[in-house]
Amino acid sequence: MDDDELEDLLRASAPRFGTVEDGLARQLVTTVVRDDPPLGTGRPRPTERRLRRSMIIGGAAAGVLVLSAAMTGSQWMMSAPPFMTLEPEGQRVYEPIEFVATWENGEQRNCQLFLEFTRLDDDELEKIAEHVRTKDWSRWQEDLSDAATDDSPDLRDRLLTELRGVVPGLTGSSESETAPAVTGYGTSCEDVR
């Protein structure tokens, strides 16, 4: 099969549906807008904590803050723009895993990774925060650096295995609808000055 033929097949492979539902989809917008409080009426702004934290980081180090857009694992990426907020029912451990990331041009930045969960109780959250605070993460530098600069598929399983030692019932986000789960992580970096 040549490239042109594959291109044609790829184009033809998209499932196509009727437009009957499009009108309902548009009406749904009206429902959502009508049912939810109007903009600018004091609704909590979920980005505030993240932004505030970013400012603290930047101010303390007098460096240039870089919010990393690359922290994926296919099922993991939760915090890349525009996902800087937590999902509904999401929880974030604000104790950072600190590391130095090296970009492909050789530049290094000081980075922090924040773990995100769902369905943890307060004790479990505190246990994980304590573990993050006390563990020596130096042997994780390579995976953590990959997470900050691009993609670190291995980090997901490694983190899950590690954190199951702290919260035994912890699962990956897609494994259960009821168990506590790791849902992702976010990283932020600043230039080393």
């Binding site: 099969m1 989809a25 600018g40």
Partner: protein, 171 residues
């Protein structure tokens, strides 16, 4: 994205609502192409619209960036849909009912297309999503990179690798 590029949403509620009206069918198509049964797409769309509305203050002002933002939210909602509670309204239920009987307009008779879909399903999840964003949702590789939150170069190399895999599997 910098703060001065975001929409002052309190002044632009009507504009945001209109924009959501434009995006809603596109997002519905995005979900329909990715979930089974299709009526799941109603819940996902409702959830995505709610997230977009609540985050309207941060929607980029530039059209293309705003569209990528919306796809990004849709992708995030899709990933989380098994663990979040559903927003149910009468209209959502109606949309669910409509979608329950939804079928493709023209189911491809070409076996090679069906083989290709199967091959796409077998790709690594991130590669599968890149291929779908480009060929099913009509995004450029630059835009797909924005949606999946990866560098453009990485997405390009993954995309070309995925094409090689697909070509190899289809013979």
């Amino acid at each position: 994205m910098t703060a001065d590029q975001t929409i002052p949403a309190a002044d632009r509620a009507d504009e945001i609502e209109d924009w959501l009206g434009v995006m809603a069918p596109m997002l519905l198509a995005y979900f329909l192409r990715r979930v089974t049964p299709p009526d799941e797409a109603a819940d996902l769309l409702a959830e995505a619209l709610l997230v977009l509305w609540r985050r309207a203050e941060a929607i980029p002002a530039e059209d293309r960036a705003a569209r990528m933002w919306a796809y990004g939210v849709a992708r995030n909602v899709l990933r989380g849909h098994r663990r979040t509670s559903r927003r149910r309204s009468a209209l959502t239920e109606r949309l669910r009912a409509e979608l329950a009987s939804t079928e493709e307009v023209a189911h491809p008779a070409d076996d090679r297309v069906l083989d290709l879909r199967s091959a796409i399903e077998r790709l690594k999840p991130i590669d599968r999503e890149i291929v779908r964003l480009v060929h099913w949702d009509g995004l450029s590789l630059v835009e797909a990179a924005e949606v999946v939150g990866m560098r453009e170069g990485t997405v390009r190399s993954r995309y070309h690798r995925a094409r090689s895999v697909l070509r190899g599997q289809l013979g």
